[in-house]
Symmetry: none
Subunit: 240 residues, 2 copies
DNA sequence: CATACCGGTTAAGATTTGATGAAGAGGCAA
DNA sequence: TTGCCTCTTCATCAAATCTTAACCGGTATG
């Protein structure tokens, strides 16, 4: 029972039978389900370590199953491996951002698929859970209440500035180019002058005051939020 | 160089020019190649994150390029997006099972294609093996954070120096000629003065300090990153 | 030894890049 | 409507970076 449990949701016996066989031979415990509704119920009762999900399912579509899995806190973190018939479907799935963790196109070879399964199970589960509060270097952002606080005082950020800082703060040290920041701060409106970001960064820095140095410029690339503490800020912090 | 690199292999300027422009505007680094042979060579020296490949090419056919890319362990895992003239061709291509990851029929709209590119690059299993950190001989490059570290201290590299070192470091021991290094560091126009590379190498060596010897000159050919920590005596003996 | 070739070095000039100030353009509520 | 507020665009400047070209010394070759 120390074996890892896999829930396989697929209505085609021609696929699920050999697949479940191959997985069992690898030492996994496999439970099969042949439609979406049943699969969803089993997922919630079994809480397996991994779910393999066909995109085309009777009763409930694969995407809907995935959505509901993600909506339930008990199953939210279970990795999902999606089976799709065509490459283009992957785009859709990715587009819907349904949170599948990997995709395999049918027809597939058994060995690579098992490899993928193992890789997913091996993966450290630092999946970015939906976080509403981020706090770094004395700056705290709460996106539910749309509040930004630096030490004591509240920062009056505009929506764009807020999203910008949110993006930077969530992955401190990572450098974002202007396009990524554009996307992050303005949704998917892709066609805008890149340098607009510079202006937002500027006003952001102004409002950050002494902490402005935390938003670093990476020349030729973009911007990033400083990872390690900065001397002048520490001094400032102490002084307050 | 937090940016992802795309190699575009297409001989029709009417296609490759606007496409490379669109991709660059999206923040990708794009290198263009106008025939199969050259494209193959560039793929092997650049090791881009994605390759866009026209099916009809001079010198070597697209399918043959694809086959050879799949045959080389260095390029085997790089996703390939194939451009084809007619829908029926897709079937043929799929039939040959040449391992292209996606197909787009010409003529295509710019936006959807860019979407496809992004989707391909976002695919989880590709993400897992795409390399963002390279570390050799005590030097570590992280293109996501855009950081270069030697032992303890951070190296303040300019964008060009970073890309140069990134290229050398990814395939230690392999000698790159100046054109290849030009490509890698300047992405765009390959028709610049070759000796420019020498100057970049020099400033790179200066910043590397004691580790400067790791960037070796191969007289008459180009440069390479040293593979072995010490003298090549052992290597010689083993080689014979 | 002479010579052509090659890479190292240097500095000046050209180009690119980001910061900044300011001027519209909409949006929205009073 | 007017009066903010926010976002975008543009022009300009200074600094960082890249390229070019000239000069130098080492090396292979005859």
């Amino acid at each position: 029972m120390s074996n890892q449990q896999i829930l396989l949701i697929d209505d085609e016996r021609g696929i699920s039978d050999p697949l479940s066989y191959a997985l069992r031979k690898e030492g996994f415990e496999v439970t099969c389900s042949y439609d979406g509704q049943d699969g969803l119920r089993r997922a919630q009762s079994l809480l397996p370590d991994l779910i393999i999900l066909d995109l085309m399912l009777p009763l409930i579509e694969g995407l809907e199953v995935c959505r509901q899995l993600r909506g339930d806190p008990r199953t939210r973190e279970i990795p999902v491996l999606m089976l799709t018939a065509r490459t283009e479907e992957i785009d859709e799935v990715v587009g819907f951002n349904m949170g599948a963790d990997d995709y395999v196109t049918k027809p597939f070879k058994m060995k690579p698929l098992v490899q993928r399964v193992k890789a997913l199970l091996r993966r450290p589960h630092l999946k970015e859970q939906s976080v509403d509060v981020v706090s770094r270097q004395g700056i705290t952002l709460d996106r539910l209440h749309h509040r930004a606080v630096a030490e004591e005082s509240e920062l009056p950020l505009t929506p764009t500035e807020f999203k910008l800082l949110w993006t930077l703060l969530r992955q401190p040290g990572r450098t974002f180019n202007r396009n990524e920041l554009m996307d992050a701060s303005r949704g998917e409106d892709a066609n805008a002058f890149e340098r607009t970001i510079d202006v937002h960064v500027r006003s952001l820095r102004q409002k950050l005051g002494a902490r402005a140095v935390l938003v670093e410029t990476v020349r030729g690339v973009g911007y990033r939020f400083r990872d390690e503490p900065h001397e002048s800020v520490v001094t400032e912090t102490n002084a307050i």
